[in-house]
């Protein structure tokens, strides 16, 4: 599946959720799955650069859940392992966009968690893209 189609397919599944915090959690969940999978399947000498992504996104998931976000995980379509770097960066882009979108219905805790998610995702994306491998 083409990456653009892959993202659109996930986007269609996530867009049904009404709250921005729910959508942010869903994107973060997918980013975490990909990063964790990348860490576990990478067989090179050094851990994959996903080591910069997985912790931050895991903490983002915890913070969003602690802020009261309650939503189901998304079923993730298969992605070619060769496309993992691009897929991960695109998912992080979506996470940054979604978590950065103001939501009038969000609680203060959820707004804080979303803001923190943006900060972490930006740093994770930059480190993933620039880290030596």
């Amino acid at each position: 599946m083409d990456i653009a189609d892959w993202i659109d397919l996930i986007d269609a599944r996530i867009a049904r959720r009404s709250r921005a915090a729910d959508r942010a959690w869903a994107w973060a969940h997918i980013a975490h799955l990909i990063a964790l999978n990348d860490l576990l399947t990478d067989r090179s000498t050094a851990p994959s650069a996903a080591c910069w992504v997985e912790p931050r996104i895991a903490w983002t998931l915890d913070d969003l859940a602690s802020a009261g976000t309650r939503t189901d995980p998304v079923r993730l379509p298969l992605v070619d392992p060769a496309d993992t770097p691009e897929a991960l960066q695109r998912v992080l882009d979506r996470l940054i966009l979604t978590a950065g979108t103001p939501d009038a219905h969000a609680t203060a805790a959820q707004a804080d968690a979303c803001a923190q998610a943006v900060t972490r995702a930006v740093a994770a994306r930059l480190d993933y893209a620039t880290s030596p491998t």
Partner: protein
């Protein structure tokens, strides 16, 4: 028997918690005395002695929070900018109260468990009242020790990292906390009455609990003069050196040691949640990544360590727990990731070099954290293992609709990383 302590144990108990604990136990002793007579003369003597020990402990507490040198200066009444005029009623009442706490006429009775030399042979059967007073004395002493960590032993001055509300506060604010405990133990009734009921003679009761005891009046005078302590003072916990935030290498070293100390604390309690173990694994993985990518010449040796961290991550990934993460460890790990990220030091190569050196030098600390986590993961009964996932990509991550169940067996031991063989110049090679 004393009921369970009402003050919950915290990772870093505060001064206020210890003093609350002391007041609770003192109140408990008072309630025991009001509700039922003591079982024997020996219990009565133990109760009188424990009360005297508590008052002596409070006096020691007051001396500790004021500082011996400062107290001596107050008694010798030289008037300077730092030692107020002892004719000030507040100071005069304070000194009188400390003297009343250690009133020489309030002598402790000898008990059946005491030898002729004054040594106590057996203190197991002291009675519930004495036990309660003893627990209060212990809490008061611990609170004094906590405050003492903020003072330099030689000069008595506050340490640089002492919170400003303590360093800049008046000593009386802490003494008031002790006075609140003393107020609960100062009255000689109903202890004197219960001692008479238990069989002590009138002369013995008068000797150890003198009717003319002025402690109650002295305590109320201190309370009236000094008022209530500031809430911020009660939140002070044991002093710890601060994190040096100016230099990334120094900050990394300080934070990794804090993580190690927290893991040691978890080791003492025998438990750490799976989120905390995952955070330790994340730290190890990032350190391994940094070392492998910064020293390509030794990457082959690093590969075994990397593979081990990968297996640790794989082992922990499917585990779930309702227990929250240790916020202290998570905060340190998150900040350490921020320090180690290439973008943080890309404009300062020398700082980057020092940071890499610090990361290399602290690999034994990471080793120790991993070893502790190994033991905790092997002995933990609080890890929750979800049912097996069937999705080919998700590798047992998907949990929706799957009921978690408690493992009936302790999980297999955390895979102990194997240190790669060290060669002449490769001393930096470690677990990470």
């Amino acid at each position: 028997m004393i009921a369970a302590d009402p003050v919950p144990a915290a990772p870093h108990p505060t001064y206020g918690e210890f003093m609350d604990r002391a007041r609770w136990h003192t109140t408990k002793a008072f309630q025991l005395l009001t509700r039922a007579p003591m079982a024997s003369e020996d219990h009565a003597r133990h109760a009188v002695r424990s009360r005297a020990d508590l008052l002596t402990g409070l006096a020691a507490h007051a001396r500790a929070v004021i500082g011996p040198a400062h107290l001596a200066a107050l008694r010798e009444h030289p008037v300077t900018r730092r030692t107020p005029d002892p004719t000030d009623p507040r100071v005069r009442h304070l000194l009188a109260w400390i003297d009343a706490l250690t009133e020489p006429s309030r002598r402790s009775p000898s008990t059946a468990n005491e030898t002729h030399d004054g040594d106590v042979r057996d203190t197991r059967d002291r009675g519930p009242v004495a036990e309660a007073y003893g627990a209060a004395t212990l809490a008061v002493g611990t609170a004094a020790d906590l405050i003492a960590t903020h003072h330099d032993g030689a000069t008595g001055a506050a340490r640089p990292w002492t919170p400003p509300q303590l360093a800049g506060s008046d000593y009386g604010l802490l003494v008031v906390e002790a006075a609140r405990v003393a107020a609960l133990a100062a009255a000689i009734e109903p202890l004197a009455l219960r001692c008479r009921e238990a069989g002590l003679t009138r002369s013995e009761v008068d000797l150890h609990l003198p009717l003319a005891d002025r402690l109650v009046d002295a305590t109320w005078s201190v309370a009236a003069e000094w008022g209530f302590p500031e809430p911020g003072i009660r939140d002070i916990t044991v002093a710890r050196p601060p994190i040096r935030t100016g230099d990334p290498a120094a900050e990394w070293t300080d934070r990794i040691r804090c993580v190690r100390d927290r893991m040691r604390a978890h080791q003492d309690t025998g438990h750490a949640g799976v989120r905390t173990l995952q955070d330790v694994a994340r730290l190890g993985t990032v350190v391994s990544h940094i070392l492998a990518t910064s020293r390509p010449d030794a990457s082959a040796q690093q590969s075994a360590i990397t593979a081990t961290w990968r297996s640790i991550t794989e082992y922990l990934a499917p585990l779930r727990s309702t227990e929250p993460a240790d916020r202290t460890i998570r905060g340190h790990v998150e900040r350490m990731l921020e320090l180690a990220r290439p973008a943080h030091t890309q404009d300062t190569p020398r700082a980057r070099g020092r940071l890499l050196r610090a990361i290399t030098d602290t690999t034994p600390v990471v080793d120790e954290c991993a070893a502790i986590a190994d033991r905790l993961a092997a002995s933990s009964a609080d890890l929750w293992i979800p049912a097996k996932s069937t999705h080919p990509y998700l590798r047992s991550i998907r949990t929706s609709g799957l009921a978690a169940r408690r493992s009936t067996e302790a999980p297999r031991a955390w895979p102990r990383p194997t240190r790669a063989p060290a060669s002449g110049t490769a001393r930096w090679v470690g677990l990470s």
